[in-house]
Symmetry: C2
Subunit: 599 residues, 2 copies
């Protein structure tokens, strides 16, 4: 009953009008040949795959869930998932943005970003399977030995095998320094070969029937490891060992011992994994596993933000369709469809407010997510060291914002879109409550949103005295400077400039406070991240409004809608920052004053 | 694995220290004999029933859900629900606050309010069954003929039979004026007897195995009914007709044709009901059914707010227990439990912020909910017509706030409490995600929270030029006046006074705008309700803080905790009003400017 249309037009707007990605990409040797038509054509095909192949499996996958067979310790994904994955591999989709050296198509990451947004809209649970593979691939690409790369990258690129990241243990998730899984050298085996023993939990795609082999990236401790997070190493552990000829060999004792029953993403297998002397090889240097894993984790964090974006978009589309169809009550300002027994509910201001909230969060999130993808394309491919550093700094700053702001927004947006349906929203049949349940995990995994906010304020902002923040602030200042005399843009430029100044002031204040008490960072971080998220969105909406204003004569209603959405954003969503800044300013005392025993 | 301890101490604080309910109740003839010990003893026993009998069925009821048998059109509630209901009836709990004339115990509604908060904490889905009965009983009590009262009230009071309210149809929920169910006079039957035909949906407890008979209150149209909401009449339709001797007779053709599969409250049977000439009698005057039903609906709205309160409290208790037990990371300001491998997570400021948010919403909600229950006790029992009117006005004003503000808060609070658990919060086993799923319906049923906000701003506030709001505002002004020179209370009194002034100003502004365009009400209403909700909470927290400050020498840590919670509320939650007022002020244009086709 649910609907999904790939938002190609808005993607094209962000790619080609807001960010001029082809001009930027052409400066990079790896993408010198890229052109807009290619990008658009790939996204059109990608959208078809999302909408036609995996979207129809979204609700059925949620209802059926994954099945665990205790006797064989095997997991079966919901009906149709395996066949859809085969089509995905057949279509060459896993290889989209992978280096040609490992069999990839070498397209820029901006394309993959848009493609994955559509996959997430269509079926977040299904998308977990290829999504995790992608992270494993990137991690091996960055930290694997040449032998590991040759062994694993082509199979991960083609999608023949999938990947996982095995971090969490029952007693530790956020605090990986506590982890206990052990790795011991295997006597007589080639150097770098270890046997791993321990238990992992919450391993997405840890076991399933979509691919014949699974490549696990596992954090564990070497025998001589120092305690805490400085004693963690990374290993690659295949489900089936690989023979010299590349064929699958012996089953490695890394088994799924149970799957979790969850609030949502029921089509994604969340596995408890037992390692009972499973053989693996070291990735990167001993005891440097956390740093290596962070390559994967940063990509995963952007991926999670993108999940939030995908759900926001699809929930919006469905709520709009319902609001245009469902008749209930008359408009307060008089009947709008007097020939009908009641008006469609889209005439009611608060219904529009809920719809526009989702729309603005989708459009703002899309602009930011594509912007950061372009930064990564530039970071990975530029020859200019200054540019590389500049891009890397912005990526570091914006990653926790994409992860936390987009997923918090998705929780709000999917809940609003469900609310538009009234009681029907609460019924499984309509599919809206699933978006809410699926959206909820995105605020938790790959570092909770609190962890993201601590990363932003503590590490990324205060950690270098605001240097990274200033880089983004400079873009805002330049835009404000440039458009300062543009009368038509004042409704956007003025509040943007004002918020920018307030963020600067707030940052300085928090830095001073944190100097006296580090807990001040923890007290303000969540409010702070949301304020900065709004600043970033306001910047992109102001720039979008500038383009939309210039095109008002074009007759293309897309630009009218863009302008209205930007106005809505500034009028109804940006004001949240007023309360957040007040709350952030009240500091740590109201949180820590109460003795633990009194809770 | 979940825990629940009835919050008797805080209830006693609100009842006996904040509101002095026994002094107030003793002024009323019906409650002249009431004393604090009786109230406390009843609540202690009621808490035991909630915690020991129905709380253990909460998670199992969610997992098992209700079962529909197509052949017999019967519904079976989850295992244990029937036995728990028998204990409830046996314990005399349904009769708690019912008039002795119909077999009730005649206790004040404040007691029932606290009892139901505990039932909702323990098991919202189970509590739907007796909760709906209570509404049916109140409606018949207010609008039934003497014969209807004699027939139904004793059985509903004892709990032998349960009740429902049958309003919604597939094409109408909010807009009951569209309803189509027909009622036709039965030739030869006593006057007032009708046969009803039509379809109802979303009927909670519409069919189940807890009681031998179900008393349906059904909205339908008489043959001569005018179109729209002025042509709706109310009927009482028993599942089994009742013989002259009071025994159950023939099955009435009002059958459950399906049950809904929902996001939550799975233990509550949500039924589609087919009426195929079901026999019923008219309640109240012809075509005046909506007004009669509103007696039930207002009680139900308060009941839904109370569901939100119950979930907020139980989610808080569990999150606190987890936060004191789970160890993860070190405090940013240095290890707090250096002999352990990590600190308990309650040392982290943002974990405390999430916990305190839930705590403050529970305490504020409890104060407001008991306050309104006391108003109803006074309204129903006073001999003084001015007092009655004053109480009724306050109840009318506060009802949409209790319904919408407490349920929105519960959605925020349960989500925060789930977040405290990290990944474990998303796993069904721990029970936290169920609180979030259950909480979500409370924002929808009995009038969506948008409808509540329109009721507040449009009808209750602007509808009488702010007269009802001024009555509550007078209480605030008196408190501010009284404590204006109390140095120690300035941190509460000043922001309370300031917010009160701002609300007055905002109300006037919105009234002016609405005069020009009625859609301005719809645009601002949701923001407005949340602002007024905060004003009401701030008033009760300020009054609570005054008491707590006076008791700081008592050595009772309860008062220390109350004071800290009030400070937290003013520092971290009240600032939300700043953003809400800004958003409300931006008016309707940003919502209505975009053409429907552009969505």
């Amino acid at each position: 009953m649910a609907v999904y249309t790939p938002p190609l037009r808005d993607m094209q707007f962000v790619l080609h009008e807001l960010l001029n990605v082809t001009d930027e990409l052409k400066m990079l040797p790896a993408h010198a040949e890229i052109d807009a038509d290619t990008i658009n054509a790939v996204l059109e095909e990608g959208g078809k795959f999302a909408a036609e192949v995996i979207f129809p499996l979204n609700q059925s996958g949620d209802r059926e869930g994954c099945t665990y067979d205790k006797a064989t310790k095997s997991v079966t994904a919901p009906t149709g998932f395996k066949e859809a994955y085969a089509k995905y591999v057949e279509g060459g989709w896993p290889a989209l943005a992978i280096e040609p050296a490992y069999g990839g198509q070498g397209l820029p990451i901006v394309v993959n970003q848009c493609f994955y947004e559509m996959l997430n809209s269509a079926n977040q649970a299904w998308t977990m399977y290829p999504g995790l593979s992608h992270g494993a691939l990137e991690c091996l690409h960055a930290h694997g030995t040449e032998a590991q790369k040759q062994l694993y990258l082509p199979k991960l690129t083609s999608g023949e095998w999938t990947g996982t990241m095995c971090l969490t243990e029952p007693h530790c998730g956020t605090d990986l320094g506590l982890l206990r899984t052990k790795a011991e050298p295997v006597a007589g085996a080639p150097e770098g070969t270890y046997k791993l023993t321990g238990q992992k939990i919450f391993i997405s795609a840890g076991e399933h029937d979509l691919a014949p082999n699974i490549v696990h990236l596992v954090l564990a401790r070497l025998p001589d490891a120092p305690a805490g997070s400085k004693g963690i190493s990374l290993f690659v552990v295949p489900k089936f060992k690989i023979n010299a000829d590349g064929s699958l060999g012996e089953r490695n004792p890394i088994f799924c011992s149970a799957i979790e029953h969850k609030m949502g993403i029921n089509g994604s297998a969340t596995c408890q994994m037992m390692l009972d002397g499973a053989e693996g090889t070291l990735v990167g240097a001993p005891h440097k596993g956390l740093a290596a894993m962070f390559v994967m984790m940063n990509a995963a964090r952007l991926g999670v933000g993108n999940q939030g974006l995908g759900l926001t978009e699809v929930a919006y589309q469905n709520a709009v369709a319902y609001a245009k169809d469902r008749r209930q009550m008359r408009s307060l300002s008089g009947p709008k469809q007097p020939d009908q027994p009641a008006d469609t509910i889209i005439v009611h201001p608060d219904v529009r407010k809920m719809l526009l909230t989702a729309r603005a969060y989708a459009e703002g999130g899309r602009a930011l997510a594509i912007y950061i993808a372009l930064l990564i394309d530039r970071e990975l491919n530029t020859d200019d060291e200054d540019e590389r550093k500049d891009c890397a700094d912005q990526v570091a700053l914006l990653t926790p914002i994409v992860k936390a702001f987009l997923t918090d927004n998705a929780w709000l947006a999917t809940s609003h879109c469900m609310q538009v349906y009234g009681g029907h929203g609460y019924i499984k049949e309509w599919g809206m409550e699933q978006y809410v349940r699926d959206a909820r995990i995105n605020m938790i995994y790959e570092g909770t949103n609190t962890i993201q906010s601590l990363d932003l304020l503590g590490r990324k902002v205060l950690g270098d005295n605001g240097a990274k923040l200033k880089k983004f602030g400079k873009l805002i200042a330049e835009f404000v400077e440039e458009e300062g005399t543009n009368e038509a843009l004042q409704e956007f430029v003025n509040p943007l400039a004002e918020l920018g100044d307030k963020v600067t002031k707030l940052t300085t204040e928090l830095g001073m406070k944190a100097f006296g008490n580090a807990d001040e960072v923890g007290a303000a971080a969540v409010d702070y991240l949301r304020v900065v998220g709004h600043l970033v969105f306001a910047y992109f909406f102001a720039r979008s409004a500038k383009i939309a204003l210039a095109k008002q004569g074009s007759g293309d209603p897309f630009y009218t809608a863009k302008l209205h959405t930007a106005r809505f954003y500034f009028a109804k969503l940006l004001p949240e920052t007023a309360g957040l800044m007040r709350s952030a300013r009240t500091g740590v005392a109201p949180l820590m004053a109460m003795d633990e025993a009194l809770f």
